[in-house]
Amino acid sequence: MEYLIHLAILFVIYATLGVSLNLVVGYTGLLSVTHAAFYGIGAYTTAIFLTKSGVGFFSSLVSGIVIVVVISFLVGVVLSKFKGDYYALVTFGFNAIIFAVFLNWQNLTNGSLGVPGISRPELFGINFANNFNFLILALIFFVLVYFASRFIVNSSFGRVLKAIREDETAIAVFGYKTLSFKLVVFIISAAMAAVAGSLFASYITFIDPSSFQLTESMFILAIIILGGLGNLRGSILGALFLILLPEILRFVGFSSDIDAQMRQVVYGIILILLMLYRPQGLIGEYKL
């Protein structure tokens, strides 16, 4: 049962990341590959606050969000000067910078050795060291993120985002300041990723820079492409699929000397088949 709860927690954390990234990529049409950076800043803020000061989980989570909002604002301002492939490249560069900071700011992050011994949250006498309790906590945050995202995409603000995605020049002609819209949605999305990062750090109780590399950003992007761009439920389905599939393959009885390699091959084949027959993702409304 603990295993199922563990998978459910991972699924909820990645669904949170998927839903938040979908706001930027799926609804606004901005190809961002830097989500792991904000996820990592949230995780490191929580890890550092919990291990090096007496601050509690919820205060560290809020601090993580504030730090990410400030950084994403600065990054967003720079990103506003770019479009299309160049936008993606700049986000790529930002992820690389943040990874280098995690790796090399030894006094703060402990570099490649990572931060061990991160405690689980405790609130009103409820100890979240129990995985089931932690799942409930993660679900609460996910529901908040999901409904906030749904509110955004169904609002007039969300309709402008979709219009930017379809034709930015056209919507600008109507007097909309598209840069502001793009900046705001980028900051909101990053703040949501920080929440997922805080949950991840506290759940795993150990973090190191390898969890927040570019490959992690690509994994989150794969979640929303597979589930479906421009559809919040698609992000949930994508997370479910990409978190569960490797675990299901653990039970396929290959012999121990080729087991791991064969799982990777099967995993790859399934993803290729899915993209061949559902290029728009499982329930996508938009194609990159």
Binding site: Y3, L10, Q106, G111, G114, I204, L282
Partner: protein
């Protein structure tokens, strides 16, 4: 979305949940009550897969050679690609589905993720890791030669060779910094002097500036503490700039897949595998033991020895196994005579090696 698509997605999700649920909840009564299950979490795919495979082979060799025992032993391998979330998933799967009694993990990352899970579930955990945090708690142990032991051997070898001026190139990582701090402390009582110390960040590709800075230092040997690919790039650039001074390292040479770059150079490595283990490994795999393979072999044997020592007819509990492990001294292992200290660290001695014909060879053998 079409109705049929919704149905297909629904069926896929339902099948996935039912499949995992079946394996999680299925009764494992077919396994004998006295079977000790050991879960091994290591990178079986990815850049370090060759090390994970070495660990798997070493444990299988140990299992084949364990002889008659009163308990049965079963080993289950899980791949984690050295990814923290996959390590956690593998540990949870091994505990919930396979009901393992003990864990073996490779690397400090995996060890740090699994240690609290093992502690919470009272499962014995051995990490092949240098980070002493991994050994925190009653049920956690590490099997790795401590850096202070390796520094002692390095200094002795420098003195034996009459080297008095040492140059250092180190990656800006806590592990390397700790090793060098300890080395400098130990050098205070010797006539060896650190004449240059150059630091670089992880991910750097151009070392020519720091090489130029150190070129006129008069170093008689350079100590390189770097991981792949920085290590290989650094050595190539040193050679390109005309530096022919010998180079040495602590462990790092054997973490490279380009051993020919270090041909003829000596270095200090964690405890040296016995000839018997090397023979067994060669016979089974046609390869030399990889880093950590001998540690994995010893860990399996230590777990077996501790379980076998527990008296009584029922299956040993983790507490009983831990008690027996803490009593172990002078255990004859693949890395020489082993003892378990009070911090849960398996103490073994470091060795001087040289790269000869592209292979690591122990000096004196």
């Amino acid at each position: 979305m079409k109705q049929s698509t919704k149905w297909i997605i629904g069926v896929i999700v339902a099948v996935a949940v039912v499949a995992i649920g079946y394996f999680v909840l299925k009764d494992s009564s077919d396994i004998s009550a006295k079977t000790i299950k050991i879960g091994v979490i290591a990178p079986m795919t990815g850049d370090l897969a060759f090390m994970g495979e070495g660990i798997r082979d070493a444990i299988l060799i140990a299992k084949e050679n364990m002889g008659n025992t009163k308990n049965r032993y079963e080993v289950i391998f899980e791949d984690d690609q050295l990814d923290a979330k996959m390590s956690a998933s593998a540990a949870n799967k091994l505990l919930s589905v396979d009901k393992v009694d003990a864990f073996v993990t490779f690397s400090s990352v995996t060890g740090n993720v699994v240690a609290p899970i093992a502690e919470q579930n009272k499962a014995v955990h051995f990490g092949i890791a240098s980070d002493s945090n991994v050994a925190k708690g009653k049920y956690n142990f590490i099997h790795w030669t401590p850096p202070s032991e390796e520094n002692k051997v390095l200094i002795a070898e420098l003195q034996r060779r009459g080297i008095r001026k040492l140059g250092i190139f180190k990656g800006n990582a806590p592990g390397a910094i700790a090793v060098i701090d300890d080395l400098k402390e130990q050098l205070k009582d010797t006539n060896i002097e650190v004449v240059t110390e150059q630091v670089f960040n992880s991910g750097e590709k151009d070392f020519r500036t720091i090489i130029a800075k150190s070129k006129d230092s008069g170093s008689e040997i350079y100590l390189l503490l770097a991981f792949s690919p920085e290590l290989e790039i650094l050595v190539k650039q040193m050679r390109e700039t005309g530096i022919t001074t010998p180079i040495t390292s602590i462990e790092n040479f054997e973490m490279s897949e380009q051993l020919d770059l270090f041909e003829g150079e000596w270095y200090v490595n964690s405890a040296d595998p016995t000839a018997d283990f090397i023979n067994k490994f060669n016979t089974k795999t046609d390869k030399s033991p990889t880093l950590g393979a001998a540690n994995a072999y010893d860990i399996f044997n230590l777990i077996v020895a501790a379980n076998e020592k527990v008296e009584g007819t029922s299956k040993p509990t983790s507490d009983q196994v831990v008690t027996e492990l803490m009593k172990i001294t002078n255990f004859s292992g693949a890395l020489g005579n082993l003892s378990v200290n009070e911090d849960g660290i398996i103490v073994s001695k470091a060795a001087v090696r040289i790269i000869k014909d592209g292979k690591p060879v122990t000096v004196g053998n």
